[in-house]
Symmetry: D2
């Protein structure tokens, strides 16, 4: 079962084409990742303040399939597609009702205070096992 | 009773000072206004698509009292401070628990498709009567 | 020769990790596309206001190779990788000096007022011929 | 003579009303402040990395007088209105040609790593003397 997150489209998300500005879909799916990670017991703020560690996006492949509009209630489904010791690939899909609006594969790593690659937190490494 | 809206702080909202970027408080309070207006039965998308009418911010006075951080759950209280036929002033306060982080007076008008000032929707004009 | 566009990183672009927030690279490369398209004699505002036509992003594949920081002067190189009648793929690279920070392939189409696919403007269709 | 900064409006700045989203004017004037401060010889990134000090907005009063549109070339004029040891008020005006679109008074302070108020850098304290 993918992790589910919902959000609503506000004025700030739209552009003069009358639809959600394309870069803002990346914000929606990052909110979803934040909630997914928190649900696994990982406190991103503590990771950063105590350990100097942050998640960093390494690669994104995404398809924009249908536009989203002001007032839309969107659902983001997040599921791990591949998790190794130091890297994970998430599959994230944004839906409005039954319609798929946006489909992304996002590759993430964790880096330390000096920018060096770190092992993923254990709670994440166990996601595909 | 003010209208209440809650939102959470995500990565997108923060800046390199480690706190919410100041302009993003304006986004939070606009989300709250959107929900307040919707709760009064006004459909902003229909207003725009059918009548070419949009709300426009005319003036903001705001004080930044305390910073907000990643993961904070914020509450926005919105209450009408002054409503005339064509203009309204809202008082909007952002809180985290008992702390007031941000306090704003926002003046709004409605303009038509040609940019001309319009009367406020009736549901808004009745708010202070 | 790719089209070149430069921009500077400001506070708004950064996040609490102290680097440019990943989604904001999409804004940088869109600014570059806007300038590239304008340099080809295409007026996006007129396209929209007169013809109801807008460019829409259909797909992005991008790699984040190195972080960008406040105050960095970035250069975006834009070159057409593939152009057919109704679709174009652009290769866009963000550099700081000799370092490549971000590398993207962006697929774009033009849609009309009713959302229907349109032929690309002639000035674009001639880019790879 | 006020400090002058120019910027262009891109797609990211607009909203579904077809104009620049109101909160984005705060981004434009912050870019201008960054350039003004840099022109006075103050390196904000070094201030933060070496001394843990950052500028913080305390209060904004602003009037939205005319809308800005995609493709507009805007000029931001920045001039100090009041500077004391620990606080400064800047007057910032956004123009398109001869038209004034936005007029703001912004109050800023500098805080240290623990959030405590600091004296403004000397180069700023001398601005009104």
């Amino acid at each position: 079962m993918p992790h589910q997150f919902t959000c609503r489209v506000y004025y700030e998300d739209t552009d003069m084409a009358g639809i959600v500005y394309h870069a803002n879909f990346l914000k929606f799916i990052e909110r979803a990742r934040s909630e997914w990670v928190a649900a696994l017991g990982i406190d991103q703020r503590e990771m950063k303040d105590r350990d100097g560690q942050v998640f960093v996006v390494r690669r994104i492949e995404c398809d924009y399939l249908m536009p989203a509009y002001y007032g839309d209630d969107l659902r983001v489904d997040t599921s791990p597609a591949q998790v190794t010791g130091a890297r994970m690939v998430l599959h994230q899909v944004v839906r409005r009702g039954d319609d798929i609006l946006f489909d992304a594969k996002v590759t993430l790593v964790v880096i330390g205070a000096a920018g060096q690659p770190m092992r993923l937190p254990g709670a994440l490494r166990q996601q595909l096992h």
